[in-house]
């Protein structure tokens, strides 16, 4: 996930080797390389190429045309949606950073109390999918009947409302309360690798703890901040669920809503493709910009070795920081979760906690009466598990080939694995639809197309985990096996695999949770028999039956939380803040 991986891959991939005869190149490792390349072509190169080709293709004649771009960007409203999206993305990055940075610093570098409690709270933001956070906030901050407004009116006797979720600010808040988790994890990891020498120097020169943090500590983790900011931006602009819930009532058109319009009848894949290309270019440009900024300075302080790491003593400020952490966890997890569960057990979500309002009917409906929700829960969990497994195994094989430099040009594979990182989920769905749903491949309505798309979408996470794991294992252990006569596969089975169990299981869990809740890619790829729970929930949100969809959301959260708890028990609590 971090961009340092990309850089490493680049510098190692170009290693030179002595020239060998043509036939000698067909070693098992070369075959593995070919196989992996083929897989990546299917998952990444073909869909993206198709997207580019389609954007220049006339839907009727099949010839070259620029008309799709004119259709896509010829209307002021369509251009406005793109501008709105960039604006929204920037605002979400800033707000997420305001949430994540103080909490990450507090949890890793200070003597803030109850750190594990805060970590667990932040982890809750990872488990709650964005659309459920959004539903929670609609119940909290609906302009007239939201809980916050009603409590305010009850306390003050006023009849005015103070918050309105159906606004730009509401949209940004709902995005940020979900997305700050990733930032928290990446920035925490960087903080944990710093040693205290430079901070000590600042202290000796007379800087207080806050000044030291601002002038020394934060600049040192700038690469992580920039990397996670970029990631947050990309994820944010590509989310479908939250805009569908909030930006339509807020009258704030964004790209994903516009793409959905192109995808409605008459289906305009070519226009949708053309509309997506600038988005891809913008994300690629941002990635480049980030690397340019980082390339100019040295950040060698983040070596990960040596030095001593001491916690900053904040004095009474530690309680201020803890209070702020509680506030963030409250906004992102506790408050939306509370109203969601209340709604799930209520006859009417506005009814509150009274016995006469208590009912189990909503659960009964979503579990037993609704035709597709039961099946959808099973499908989602199954797809999440399969995608996570395939992505982790694929990424592991590729990391091994890349890290051990088994073949020339293997670095290209690493680049490809990270490429989906810059492809918005909804664009990925369009690309997959164009290549694999239509004849001759005709995978529409199968589990296969969903699994392929999910594997692609989460490959970067898997690859980051996998290559960090492989890098941590020194080749000398495998060399020992080979000197003693074992083959490479034997060495992998007996040495590498056992050592990688833990990081791989952690990576699996980091993919399983979002994959089982994935919406942005699934939305255009599901068929009636392959519905996933997120799509069922989205269909339910259209009707605004908050109690029923809260019940289904609660069921989903309970299952996912249970699986994660089992994972944490097996892996240890700190798996999400690993050094990568």
């Amino acid at each position: 996930m971090s961009t340092t991986t990309l850089t490493n891959v680049a510098s190692r991939g170009g290693a030179t080797r002595p020239r060998v005869g043509f036939l000698n190149r067909f070693q098992p490792s070369s075959l593995a390389f070919l196989g992996m390349s083929l897989v990546l072509v299917v998952l990444i190169v073909a869909p993206l190429t198709m997207l580019l080709v389609k954007s220049f293709t006339d839907p009727v004649t099949g010839g070259f045309t620029l008309a799709n771009y004119i259709d896509a960007y010829g209307k002021a409203r369509h251009v406005q949606a793109l501008i709105n999206t960039l604006y929204m993305g920037a605002a979400v990055v800033v707000l997420s950073l305001l949430f994540a940075l103080p909490l990450a610093w507090g949890c890793t570098r200070t003597d803030m109390p109850f750190k594990n409690f805060v970590r667990a709270g932040v982890f809750g933001a990872f488990i709650i999918p964005p659309y459920l956070g959004g539903i929670g906030w609609i119940l909290l901050a609906g302009p007239n009947s939201g809980w916050i407004n009603r409590v305010w009116q009850g306390l003050t006797g006023s009849d005015t409302s103070i918050v309105n979720i159906f606004s730009f600010e509401g949209l940004v808040l709902v995005m940020a309360i979900n997305l700050y988790f990733t930032m928290f994890v990446l920035i925490s990891a960087a903080f944990e690798m710093l040693n205290s020498e430079l901070e000590d120097a600042a202290n000796i020169l007379g800087a207080g703890p806050i000044r030291t943090a601002w002038k020394v500590t934060f600049p040192l983790v700038l690469p992580s901040i920039l990397g996670s900011a970029l990631l947050t931006f990309l994820v944010c602009i590509a989310l479908y669920g939250v805009p569908a819930l909030i930006s339509i009532p807020a009258r704030f058109p964004v790209v994903v809503i516009q793409l959905a319009e192109f995808f409605s009848f008459p289906l305009r894949i070519e226009t949708a493709a053309a509309y997506s290309i600038p988005l891809l270019l913008i994300t690629a440009a941002l990635l480049l910009l980030q690397r340019m900024i980082l390339a100019r300075k040295g950040y060698t302080a983040v070596t990960g070795k040596g030095g001593e790491r001491r916690l900053v003593r904040l004095g009474p400020w530690r309680w201020v920081l803890f209070g702020y952490s509680l506030f963030v966890v409250g906004l992102s997890v506790a408050m939306p979760l509370l109203v969601l569960v209340m709604a799930a057990f209520g006859r009417s979500w506005v009814g509150g906690l009274t016995l006469s309002n208590l009912t189990f009917e909503n659960f009964d409906y979503v579990l037993f009466e609704h035709a597709t929700s039961q099946q959808a829960i099973v499908t989602s969990l199954g797809l999440g598990a399969v995608s996570a497994t395939v992505a982790v195994l694929l990424a592991l094989s590729i990391s091994y080939i890349v890290q051990r430099r088994l073949v020339p040009l293997s670095g290209v594979l690493g680049y490809l694995c990270m490429a989906p990182f810059v492809i918005p989920g909804i664009v990925l769905a369009i690309a997959f639809y164009a290549v694999y749903a239509l004849p001759p491949v005709a995978l529409y309505g199968t589990y296969t197309i969903l699994a392929l798309a999910f594997v692609t979408r989460f490959l970067p996470i898997a690859y980051t985990t996998g290559s960090a794991g492989v890098r941590a294992i020194h080749p000398e252990m495998e060399e020992a096996v080979r000197i003693l006569g074992g083959g490479r596969l034997y060495a992998i089975r007996k040495v590498v695999a056992p050592l990688l169990k833990r990081p791989l299981a952690a990576g699996w869990l980091l993919i399983f949770v979002p994959a089982a809740q994935e919406l942005s890619t699934a939305i255009f790829l599901v068929g009636p028999k392959t519905r996933v729970v997120s799509v069922v929930l989205l269909d339910m949100t259209e009707e605004g039956e908050m109690e029923k969809l809260a019940a289904l959301g609660t069921v989903l959260l309970v299952i996912i939380t249970a699986m994660v708890m089992i994972g944490i028990r097996t892996l240890g609590r700190d798996f999400m803040v690993r050094r990568s």
């Binding site: 058109p253 809503i257 409605s264 009848f265 979500w349 749903a437 605004g544």
Partner: protein, 348 residues
């Protein structure tokens, strides 16, 4: 799925123990034939935007109760989302749905251009109200399958009957600023019909004035109804049957039949030409027009489609109420443009 199979099995056992002969006698010969063929197909997939998902699932359960061994999966979403899914299947040559129900009959005309519909005239059509029979396609590619008029729904805790708007024109009164909920014609099929019909009635000016009241725009008309139930909004444009059902269940809602005409969207159902379960699809179409479904609808305060089933008490007769509707033939040309204009006027 397991539970549903369980339910089906339980229903089958009950039928076997108690009422198997009754069931068997109940079937017409053609019905028995369809039922047998449907059983070997397993079940029907019903794409529907005509009803709420709750109603769709309840109808499906009724269907399976009448025809044990034939499953029914209702996939409910707004009109254009459902239509997009169906057409995506048609164009991908991978049709997986069997029966399609919409509040916007122009969908069926589009589908005919792709030869996506199968002609099938249900046997039960002879019991239909004559007006309903006439509203369908004369070649049997689709038939009228729902009477769900749209009126004004208001929250009785927040608005008195006197205060409530009396007509579509009253919605333009500034006192409803920030208090009205409507659907988006880009999602809702019935809202796009409403947009075409009101534009014909009052011109586009109507929507420009409506925008001054800043209505909350949802995706489905049911969303507007639920916003009124929760008190988030005071009034909404919504199906009156939905609100009547809520009223009978004690929810704080009531309806107004607008003086300038109840809006009746042209609601049809058709069988897909490439349906993977054609017999189950036909059986389901028969069921929707059958007496059991009509009685079920009447019991839910809906309008039954058959002359031999009376409307439930408390449901206003719509026989003598002024009605407006969009003619599918002319609406087909206007609907795209009207949706674009809506997007420009309302900014979303």
């Amino acid at each position: 799925m397991t539970i549903r199979i369980g339910t089906v099995a339980a229903a089958a056992i009950c039928a076997g123990l108690a009422s198997a002969p009754a069931w068997a006698q109940d079937y017409q010969p053609w019905e028995q034939e369809l039922y047998d063929a449907a059983k070997s197909e397993g079940g029907v997939v019903w794409y529907v935007s005509q009803t709420t998902s709750e109603m769709a699932n309840a109808l499906c359960a009724e269907f399976t109760a009448r025809y044990p061994g034939v499953n029914c999966d209702a996939i409910r979403a707004t009109g254009s989302v459902t239509f997009q899914r169906v057409m995506q299947e048609v164009q991908a040559n991978a049709v997986q749905g069997d029966v399609y129900s919409s509040n916007d009959d122009t969908d069926f005309m589009e589908m005919q251009k792709y030869d996506a519909l199968a002609a099938y005239t249900p046997h039960n059509i002879e019991y239909m109200l004559p007006s309903m029979k006439a509203a369908g396609n004369q070649d049997g590619y689709w038939y009228a399958s729902n009477i769900s008029p749209y009126g004004i729904v208001y929250n009785t805790d927040l608005v008195s009957a006197d205060e409530a708007p009396k007509s579509w024109k009253d919605l333009l009164d500034p006192k409803w600023k920030d208090q009205l909920a409507i659907a988006h014609p880009g999602f809702s099929g019935s809202m796009s019909m409403f947009t075409v019909a009101l534009e014909e009635l009052y011109g586009w000016e109507y929507f420009e004035k409506l925008e001054a009241n800043k209505p909350q725009i949802g995706r489905s008309v049911s969303d507007g109804y639920n916003l009124v139930v929760s008190g988030e909004r005071k009034i909404a444009i919504a199906p009156i049957t939905l609100a009547l059902g809520g009223k009978m269940n004690g929810k704080p809602v009531d309806i107004v039949l607008p003086e300038d005409g109840l809006m009746l969207p042209p609601s049809g159902t058709g069988l897909l030409a490439a349906a993977p379960h054609p017999n189950a699809g036909k059986l389901f179409e028969e069921f929707l027009l059958g007496k059991e479904a009509a009685e079920f609808l009447a019991g839910q305060n809906r309008y039954p489609l058959r002359g031999d089933v009376p409307t439930a008490e408390g449901v206003p007769s719509i026989a003598n109420v002024p009605m407006i509707t969009a003619n599918p033939e002319t609406a087909a040309q206007k609907v795209g443009e009207a949706t674009e204009m809506f997007r420009d006027t309302f900014g979303i």
